[in-house]
Symmetry: C2
Subunit: 400 residues, 2 copies
Amino acid sequence: MRVLIAGMDGYLGWALAQYLTARGHEVAGIDRFLRREWVAEIGSDSAIPIYSMAERLIAFEERFGTRPDFRVGDLLDYDFVYRFLAEFQPDAIVHLGEMPSAPYSMIDAHHAVWTQTNNVMGTLNMVFAMRDTCPNAHLVKLGTMGEYGTPNVDIPEGFFEIEYRGRKDRLPFPRQAGSFYHWSKVHDSNNIMFACKIWGLRSTDIMQGVVFGTQIDEMGDDPRLRTRLDFDQAFGTAVNRFCCSAVIGHPLTLFGRGHQKRGFLPLRDSMQCLTLAIENPPEAGEYRVFNQFEEVYDVTELALKVQKVGRELGLDVEVRNIENPRAELDEHYYNPDHEHLLNLGYQPTHDVEAELQIMLRDLMAHKDRINHFRDVLIPDIRWDGTRRKSAFLQELSPAR
Amino acid sequence: MRVLIAGMDGYLGWALAQYLTARGHEVAGIDRFLRREWVAEIGSDSAIPIYSMAERLIAFEERFGTRPDFRVGDLLDYDFVYRFLAEFQPDAIVHLGEMPSAPYSMIDAHHAVWTQTNNVMGTLNMVFAMRDTCPNAHLVKLGTMGEYGTPNVDIPEGFFEIEYRGRKDRLPFPRQAGSFYHWSKVHDSNNIMFACKIWGLRSTDIMQGVVFGTQIDEMGDDPRLRTRLDFDQAFGTAVNRFCCSAVIGHPLTLFGRGHQKRGFLPLRDSMQCLTLAIENPPEAGEYRVFNQFEEVYDVTELALKVQKVGRELGLDVEVRNIENPRAELDEHYYNPDHEHLLNLGYQPTHDVEAELQIMLRDLMAHKDRINHFRDVLIPDIRWDGTRRKSAFLQELSPAR
């Protein structure tokens, strides 16, 4: 299939280009390298060194015998999007081209407005351009499990049948996101659902859990094919940040009581799931939602797993609680469905510890590099708009 | 109270400035006159002549002995919003400063992106500026009943208690809007709900029905104090368009079968309701939703009322069905709650025919002016992206 990846230079995008090419798909890509800028703005860098797109593409061609049709461009530039779609005529578009950080979106009015403008308007341009150039293409859109928040009821996959005052309907499940970034994804979901309804477009909206992992097998040993891995307060996600902390002897930090429950999945599972969505498109006019994660974990549970595996590798790993800079519950009910991908054949990687071992070994090679940016591990971006480093909470930290 | 009206030059804003001043409130206002531009872009003009803001303010001061602190500015300009709020220190902000047309938002990608950028980002700037300058102020935000769409169950006021798989929660009622404009209001609702939750702001989100009417008593006889009234396909709403059609002998046009049900209210009721919201603010941190309309009507029923009142005034009024340019159901269940405003003391104007008579008399004075723009009464902006005038549907038009 012909697959266009928006955000091909990113953590998922660069891995996916390789994964899909290895499976025989024809890949094209868009990026304007904003992720590199944002992480620099936060004062950090990828833990795993990454190369320029020019160098990446040379290595890509050496390994896979072909290279993606890659173009530098902005999804906010409608003419660029329109022309590329008209020319490439994708069967599927995987839209990973958004600003993905909750803390970054909460810095101030400017960052919130920028985040929602970039994410929502880029996606609007995408659906209009699809309507006018490739209305049968399948939009695989990266949303987030964070769109749902933490309601006190089970979380279905996008829609639920309810009875209310004696009448029944199938309705979108209400979203209760926790940052202006997460809300930008909700706005996207709403706009895409509407575009499918009125124009007969087809889309899979991926409510993805938190991804962790340093590699997929397709990358081989070439450092130029490695994907980025962030560990700063804004772009680093929980397990990736834990692993980077572990290799430099920095405490793994839990926010507040640390009992937030989230869906998690390894990078290799994310690739598998996105590919299942691509290879099994919905019908024309169908807007479907996949909750994409391997399993729900308590954040403390994952920190203790990193501690255990780290100690096996000889690392001195401490787990500590810090003030929560976010406005969120740190103890709550959480029971999301995730049947759709399993029904399509998703084989989850259940061995999280094996994955953590690979990650820690990969990251130990870059210990000095991570150590240089260790300041970015403790958050100072707070949901109330202030910038103050979170303090350690002595009384809460786990006994183990 | 000190009330800042964003969008003070508009249909509701100009009337509200007078209504609130007459009640002794101190009013300030913002506008950048975009409504005048948009209507010109559609090729139309207000049926009732309107004056420049400079002339309006002179008449305002003559009548009320005071004039609003009015400033030309853009809600997308954060520094402008921040400075004005910091200086004026409003008790309430009535946010009417958005692009209000569904068809305008559906013209093409550019108009959709512009609409969502203008509406959503202006509101984001507003809540950030409130947080940082006047966190105790009350944001009265104009949403629309169109946010809900037409679900097959009753529509509560914003939130509902549900039981799902044996567990209970109070959740936001799912929205299913019908245009990118209506979705922009949903995005706003979501962002504001979140701002109240994390920052303790207070807001009333007004899900307003379709407003009709040419005047409120406070305007007196001075033509400079009259508010605009649009009748074009994009900015004219149903009853206002029907009345303008009636006075020039143009058929009143129903979309499709014409059995869309919507909540409607006269302009004077809108003023009364907005004022009730302003004078009865919510608690800090409270985000409440008011469904604001007098009663639910079938659109055909209203067209026939205009026909009846028009005939009493000697007008030759025909009602006809045309192709529906929108993607919407023209026969559906519709039963929204509207208790919150009644509980605050809202006295609905139940005599719609008396209101229609006032409107038709007002508009008959501007018959030639309306006739000049009669081409804009038949829509050509379609939800599928094409521009083709809707044809009359001979077989459907009502017998009466």
